[in-house]
Amino acid sequence: MKVLSLMLVACFLPLVTLFGQSPDIDFVEYELDNGLHVILHQDNSTPIVAVSIMYHVGSKNEDPQRTGFAHFFEHLLFEGSENIDRGQFDKLVTSAGGAMNANTWYDRTYYYEVLPSNQLALGLYLESERLLHAKIDSIGIETQREVVKEERRLRVDNTPYGSVLEETMKRSYQVHPYRWPVIGSMDHLNAAKDQEFMEFYKTFYVPENAVLSLAGDLDIEEAKALVEKYFAEIPRGGHEIPKPTVVEPPQTAEIRDVVYDNIQLPAVIQSYHVPAQGTEDFYAVSMLAQLLSQGESSRLSKSVKDEQQKALFVGAFPLDLEDPGVTIAFGIANTGVSPEELEAAMDAEYEKVKSELISEEEFQKLRNQIENDFISANSRVAGIAESLANYHMYYGDANLINTEIERYLDVTREDIQRVANKYFTRENRVVLYYLPKSAQQQPETTDIENER
């Protein structure tokens, strides 16, 4: 059932959701003296407010000998602060009627609370405590080491296809830090001294490396005063934030490999190098992926899955990455279909896009889908807060929440064909076959075969 539930998730989630908003999202933005960038969006329709803070630190900022630090902090920073005892962070939020969470990516780390609007001050207090003087001590570090190991077991080791991204990225990148997984190396985390965690905190958790984004039932002037009250006294870090400068050299030959996993059905994964998010070609590549995968009528779904019955699930998805990234095509083979057959069917679809310009009608479908997704994307204040922070952090332009759609609408049919020819090539890709572990365990079973 695991395979099927994965497919269900895939079918119901829209493919492209970061399009922003079409009726204008009004917002105010400014910077505190300590460098903290603040974005405020007022929407009084529901009495709730989202308080969020995004730090421009992800796994790509890590020391190659200390991977997993950025994600580790996402855990550590729920441990409390000088004024918040261990275990109290969660209690304060839930007993105020709020919800909270956090997530980590290659490029950034994000924390948020959604609270009743009379608890805005609480949200700001909690996030300012986190930034000013989080509790980083050996008890918390020890506890979270175990938790992260548990998380890895749960999400990577024990989930069918859970290691796909990790296995793909480590072959797609030879020198760039995207080559290691966000969750990092358990050995590195074990080896790290408490002092190293403190240094990481002091380096990256400084106001000039963060965006505070609030959205919901607030009054702009009151919110400004509260932000001032809780954040102004936090000192600027005052140092350069380390960022990787290494550039991944172009891949020149196809890389192929096999991974054995605890799965029932084989999978084919292809990872194509594509330009960084926000570049012209990235928008064209996104629309190519959409042509291939969004909706039941998309090329891969219709042909490979429904008509040829070669896959239970198949699609291609560009990763949003600040440095040049990848688009990953992923297919789970139907019962009795070999990975070779599935791969050939997927490749045939790319060839069609490369050789035949897509029709006006199909192109219009893509633009209609984009419009729908763009308008629907920011229906909740928590989503608006995150999008505003994202657009500012990556592009220095929070107003892209209103205008990014134009960049998609600038893409032509010829662009889609051109990027297919330019990036979806053999020498530009990594191909992985995921095969059931029982294939590898075979000798073990033949032992038993002859024990009679």
Binding site: L4, I48, N83, G97, L319, S338, R452
Partner: protein
Amino acid sequence: MKILTIQLLIGLVLFSCATTKTTSRVDDADQKDVAEEVLTPADQSTGQPTTGSLDRSHPPEPGPAPVIQLGTAEAFTMDNGLKVFVVENHKLPRVAFSLVLDLDAIYEGDNAGYISTAGQLLSRGTTTRSKSQIDQEVDFIGASLSTSASGVYGSSLTKHMDRLLELMADVTLNPSFPQEELDKIKTETISGLQANKDDPGAIASNVRGVLRYGKDHPYGELITEETVSRIDIEACKAFYETYFKPNIGYLAIVGDIDKDQAYQLVDKYFGQWEKGDVPEHEYDKTTAPESTRVALVDRPQSVQSTINITYPVELKTGDPDVLKGRVMNTILGGGFSSYLMQNLRETHGYTYGAGSSLSSDRLIGSFNASADVRNEVTDSAVVEFMNELRRIREEPVDEELLQSIKNYITGSFARSLESPSTIANFAINVDRYDLPEDYYSNYLKRIQEVTVSDVMEMAQKYIKPDNAYILVVGKASEVAEGLKQFGPVQYYDIYGEPYTPTTAADLSGEIEVGQVIEKYLEALGGAESLRNIQDIKQVMTTNMQGLDLQITSIRKAPNMSFETVAAGDMEFQKQVFNGTEGVEVVQGQSKPLDDKRIQESLVESRIIPELAYGELGVELTLTGLEKVGDEESYVVEIAQPSGKKSYAYYSKESGLKLKESTTLETPQGSFTQSVEYEDYREVDGVKFPYKAIISMGPQKMEAEVVSIELNTGVTDDVFKLD
């Protein structure tokens, strides 16, 4: 958003949620330290102001509570009886339509599953559109459309709503039920069910339903591969024709639309939908057991036990107790600070998460408390569950905790209002379940009014530690004994059929382990002819999801072996043992066998290991009688000197070996691997199985023998380690 989407898609989720922060399955000792640390904040930090003038020692007080206003829904009923609820929300230029049929639960019987299949089939073709035309048209307007047995959902931008509603009406009114689409759905459903057989959560869910309601109740009947295989187009059509009627329908329309527009659209597309009488169904009430009983589903490969403490409750949707019961259940098992979570996870470290639910239903409600725990703490965990169930009945809840729970429920309610469909659902519920008009507008007020004694009253009424089924899906040989303290233990198979296992004690006097082995050797052809086998060459093939594999195995007495697995010219793996040492080659990488593997090879490289168990120091124990397929078989535990344990199953009737299983420890956790043997055929007077069904966790594959040759004069060169 997109990040999470992609992560989910490829099964990798990198975010972590706050409530996992202190989770771990560290050693008990560690866990205790952590727990004490949390519980006794012996306080390094009652807090001096740290920086500047702001006093940070206490969290800020909240402002005055905001007024939570519920939007309104406008309602009208069409001539054909369809009830329509419109919630205007013009923030975004989009609109969603949700059609829900108010169906009674239906008992499906021997083709169970046909109802949900019928629901899926609606969007797989209409009298004027094929599946791919429907997909194409929906995608072209950037819309979404889905169907189920109880309704149809669609959403789009306002400017496309006319088109969307036309499509929705087409799948609702004119489905064509194509046979080939039915076949596809059945195949998908059956592969899902096959995978479920090995999933402890799915097993628990099936057996839970059988225990609570019985198999003759719509909530207790099971969908199986057999019932799905019996589904035909006629059953799906009959369901549709009988039940898809507007007079039992609710249509919620939410978004950028007004009442007049909504009326016109509904009239245009659903006005012709003809009403009809829809049968109603009633079922006998089911009740909680008179005393607590243990229901055990044996899953020998389990390393965790899935515990469910459950029983039906008399709690109808809309009953005034529902709201107070929600507060009570949230305290018991509804979140991170609940009794169950604090006890089982934070204090004892038995589990990643424990919780409970109290569900109301128009037919019959239910209570369920659950957790997955390590085998060795199964009974201890049940003890703690029972302690907490008793505690909430007997001990008044702490006022501060109660208030915090009320705030939590209030906050969730407020957040849910961000979605305009919530208001539509409220309006539909009021109509559908005959709720008081102010049910939702006064919901938060009534939550705030819940008292400590209300909580206790609810607990005494609905929490029944002495009338519960304690359902455990787990490894019976390790957990059964400890569960006896809670009540009589009844075994169930994965379909909820009770059975009585035969234990070793029951077998004493009937047969001894040595006799089982002798009988086996006799069945193969007798010890004499077996000892005459000097060497054996066996070739098998298997198809692993499209990949044709060839397995070659050569053995020579007394204990030399050579095995390879290859696909065509590509050799995946090879293992050679020359009688004293060995080597394993995996994809070109060669590695000598370690001492433990050598020790095991001394046993496993024998042509017939059973002949030599005595001299090799292998210990055998008869552990009981179990069924392999339909055949009763003796279960023998085989303990090698290396410590490796496996189980062999010998048919009671024929004496032949039907199955072997081993639990393997791998970096990814432990897996149970088993091999079932079928189709024994004679080769030079000795019987060999020609078919083997190999299971590894949830994966299954069949291997078939191509050839077996005996005594061909295999030379020692074959077993050279180069």
